[in-house]
């Protein structure tokens, strides 16, 4: 009986040490794991809707996301259709915000965004002056498109909008 008690005490003390070790190790691992997690979940330059790590906890919003690699050139994000409201945010690999738009603040209510990295901004092909490329200070970024769904009557239009959302390498002159 006493030996059982000993092993329980030793076990509990050991649990404390293991807890401490894991908790102290977490910070070094978590930041890297988050962007790595994103890269695993999202292939580059493709708008993804399902199987996403959850980027938007608000249940009133449907979300699509695209991981972009700007080292090879500009990336163009588009979507078409009519929804209640849309919000597009661009994040750096550490989670900090780089840029954001909504259907109110964008140059037009159409969603047509060109992203370039600073290295390639100077050599970017001429784009329509009404829609200049957005220079983001990152080589890799996460684009998150959130659409507001006030109620079920907006579901079909939201679905169509998100299905049309595309994220692709911008061809020359586009």
């Amino acid at each position: 009986m006493r030996r059982l008690g000993y092993s329980l005490v030793v076990g509990a003390a050991g649990a404390g040490l293991v807890h401490l070790a894991i908790v102290l190790a977490l910070p070094a691992v978590s930041a890297e794991n988050t962007w790595n997690g994103v890269k695993q979940a999202l292939p580059p330059d493709r708008m993804v809707r399902s199987g996403l790590p959850v980027f938007a906890p608000d249940p009133f919003f449907r979300v699509a996301a695209c991981r972009v690699d700007l080292r090879e050139g500009a990336v163009r994000v588009t979507a078409s259709g009519s929804v209640s409201a849309w919000f597009l945010s661009v994040y750096a690999p550490d989670g900090s915000g780089l840029a954001s738009f909504s259907d109110r603040s964008a140059p037009t209510t159409l969603l047509d965004l060109r992203l370039v990295s600073p290295a390639l901004a100077g050599s970017a092909e001429a784009a329509p002056p009404a829609n200049p490329p957005l220079e983001v200070d990152a080589e890799e970024a996460l684009v998150v498109l959130e659409v507001f769904v006030p109620d079920k009557s907006w579901s079909a239009a939201t679905e169509a909008f998100l299905s049309s959302a595309a994220c692709q390498r911008a061809a020359e002159g586009q």
């Binding site: 050991g14 649990a15 908790v23 910070p27 959850v54 409201a85 738009f101």
Partner: protein
Amino acid sequence: MLAALALLIAVGGGAASAWLAARSLDPVSSGPGWHALPDRAARASNPYRRDPAGRRFALDAKAGEKLLLVATQSDSGAPLRSDCTYKLSGRMPPSRIWTIAALDTSLASPGASLAGLSSTGAVWHPDGSITISMGFEPAPGNWLRLSGEARPFVLLVGLYDTPSVDSGALNDLPLLAIRREACRDMPQ
């Protein structure tokens, strides 16, 4: 045999408690009332911050014109539970769109939406303030349905296209008071 038991308790217990600690809300951001979801600066200083539903990857929730706020307790400091009734009252910060949702925090279905209300569906008082009832029984006016079970939940408020983003102090923003009225296991 007993050594193996000690080892099992050490590794299993330590890992489980660390996992639970990592999933739970950051004690700094807990407490009564509303708290902004972590921004980059806050995350740099405290890497354990998590969004209310225990998910791991938290983007800068104040990027752009959006602000996410979370509450885990009533104004008196009692954890939010689905078997209680609550009254939320006051004003919302100015924004084009706002949403409020009760989210399940149980390990079984973290982040599941229990009930929600958005600015498009809300009813306002003539003076611009708002009252929202939360509970199992239907209530007139704005009502968020709770399950009636003794399970915790969190409230998530989203403000979109809001000029409130840059306000460093939430104290400057009008926010809803969260008052607990009664719970099933308490004398009425």
